[in-house]
Symmetry: C2
Subunit: 413 residues, 2 copies
């Protein structure tokens, strides 16, 4: 599992992080720009997504059509997304085309046309996406639970809000472009067979004189928890529970991760066994660890038929409380085995590695190697996990249900 | 792109296909058993899914709990699915655990307990999954379009039908287990650093005396096409169009594939440009080539706001008709570039390779190497594609819409 990680920070602030994967002919890259949803003006959620769309409608010497045609000719399969902290431009192609791809992205970042006449098309595309999410109760649960457990602006739906769209105009987009499309706090990551030195001269030529701006992320207030219900006429009730856990910058992070794996990793996990297999209460139940930089949540969710929703919620809460009563050695052994096979798989995927090293750089300022992760997971003991559960008691739960009827919370915060 | 493909067919009929990927430490495997949805009794759609669930509730010396625990300890991330032709058991783990995983699967296939007392839990789990699909209009479009364009039993929803569930009983499951869990027409594929010879002694010991049955897939009648509308109160109308194309066993297959890529591969593709970017008609539009063994369809789908649904359908049909008027050399060049980067990426993924070599073996009786695919794609010319469009004219269209109002079809079959 020897990994070759290289990194450099240009004088203007742009961090470049590379993982060399000598056995692959694919190349994946990620641009993290400080233009995520927390940087939008209040009441204008959606500006980031519209900006990401407009970036590909012409840049430098190329019209939008020429730009997209050029990326296709280079075999680039690109994807854009918005997280709370970042506007993310990622892509995969053949390693042999990677160097030629860089000037196209340099144009997109430094010389986008942002054509005003296409603003309406971009906004109406987003409107249709958001409207279609409205019809999906599982999607709604995820977004609304996050909104409640992470105080604003960190919890607002990253893609945007339907109600905000009419208020957004081209000036908002230009302002966000100005503050976010600059090298200060920006990260470029790449995973391929190339060494950093194969790319650096080109990157320095294209981006060395990119002028940095100043940008500071808004603070993230603590959560208090609570219960909320959204009425939705359907056969199924969606149930969500979120509560604080150690985030990825915290020394306890892997313990939080192991706890969640014991709850929900694989078909022997507690939630799958207790909620689904034994009681047949619902067809989907899961727990995930969701981490921002400096704050994380365990997020449990379940979909259940309405008449069994109360029992599902009761069992979920009971399972969360039962954790501190003890963890079997075999549960931890299973969690470690699944983690190791996941690490082995992650090692084969350029796009997974490019995303991971960029995220590590942002959250930690360095890259965790898979070898060190594996070792730390190997070293975990049941007492470590129980001590973690003492330090991070089940508290400040945010519970949300979406369905015809609210439920009763049998739990004292 | 040198690939090492090995295969052997045991005397009892079981085909074993292996791709050696020396650079990875991951291992992926696929069991294709002739127990897909076409083998269910008429009016009992769901039997295959219930069987797949019950297979993991105990086998050989292990209870269900022990079985799942053992798979987790081996780091196996397993996944089961039903296609028209197959009951598919797949998984990934570390290559070092692969040999130990084989006896567990041999138990599952040859000595499953199929506990009657857990039948209700398995069926009610499926009921909840299918009920939740009912709420999702995009899912509904996909399933109902397939049902209409592929005559029964090939077009029925592979996972099952809500209305059929009450009619299914344990005898149906046992009967399907008997006919499908046997080596005749079964395929086992694996992609890992191991050679076939590293696995063969174990496989022969475990499965050499597995007794074959006899099984024949039902015939697949031709389609006639038509228009249908399903009323659904929503803001969006779902539009689907399906029509016959060269299937994966046909010499014209890659031409069909290239046509679909020109329609829908990447952001420069025709549908994305004409329907979404230029006219802003919908937020999602795509075309895919869906191939069974011996029959395939181009399947186009779009989601549009109700008031723009008619125009979206009109533009979609116009784009399909416009294909035969000409294809630009640059369109084909982009399609080739994207195909090559996809092939390079597929080469890194054990699970993608294990699935591909199993499917190739089933559909073709041999494995297409990525090198030969690449060469055949490289050799395609615009005249090849236009000649294909002559041989496979746009006909027998099956159109389906899901939304508040039916649309008008401006197209003469």
């Amino acid at each position: 599992m020897q990994q070759q990680i290289e990194s450099i920070v240009l004088p203007n602030g742009l961090a470049i992080v590379s993982e060399r994967m000598p056995d692959t002919r694919a190349a994946a890259f990620c641009w993290l720009l400080p233009g995520g949803s927390v940087y939008q003006q209040p009441g204008k959620a959606g500006t980031s997504t519209i900006l990401a769309d407009l970036l590909f409608r012409g840049a430098g010497q190329r019209s939008g059509r020429e730009l997209l045609g050029q990326l296709s000719l280079l075999g680039v399969q690109n994807e854009e997304s918005i997280t709370p902290a970042h506007l993310v431009l990622s892509g995969v192609t053949q390693a042999r085309n990677l160097v030629e791809t860089l000037p196209v992205y340099a144009d997109i970042l430094r010389r986008p046309h942002l054509p005003e006449e296409e603003f309406d098309a971009a906004r109406s595309g987003l409107e249709m996406t958001l409207a279609s999410n409205e019809d999906d109760p599982r999607q709604k649960l995820t977004l609304e639970l996050r909104r409640r457990t992470y105080p604003a602006p960190w919890g607002i739906p990253a893609d945007g809000e339907l109600a905000d769209l009419p208020a957004i105009d081209m000036d908002d987009v230009r302002q966000l472009a100005k503050s976010s499309l600059q090298p200060h706090q920006a990260i470029f990551s790449v995973a391929s067979s190339l060494a950093l030195n194969d790319l650096l001269p080109t990157l320095e030529k294209l981006l060395g004189d990119w002028q940095p701006g100043e940008i500071t992320a808004p603070p993230l207030p603590p959560t208090t928890g609570g219960y909320d219900h959204l009425t939705h006429e359907s056969q199924q009730t969606q149930i969500g529970i979120a509560y604080p856990a150690a985030d990825s910058t915290h020394p306890d992070y892997l313990k939080a991760w192991a706890i969640v794996s014991i709850l929900s990793g694989g078909m022997s996990s507690r939630l799958f066994t207790e909620v689904r297999e034994k009681r047949g209460l619902c067809y989907s139940v899961s727990a995930n660890l969701h981490s921002l930089k400096g704050a994380a949540r365990v997020i449990c969710s379940a979909s259940s038929q309405n008449e069994r929703a109360q029992e599902t919620l009761d069992v979920l809460l009971a399972e969360l409380q039962r954790l501190k009563l003890g963890i079997a050695g075999e549960e931890l052994a299973r969690c470690k085995a699944l983690a190791k096979s996941s690490l082995v798989m992650a090692q084969d995927s350029t796009s997974s590695r490019a995303a991971s090293i960029a995220r590590d750089w942002y959250q930690l300022g360095y890259v965790r190697t898979l070898q060190s992760l594996k070792q730390q997971i190997e070293d975990l003991t049941v007492s470590d996990l129980l001590a973690y559960l003492d330090r991070w008691p089940l508290a400040n739960l945010q519970i949300l249900t979406v369905g015809p009827q609210p439920l009763v919370i049998h739990f004292n915060q």
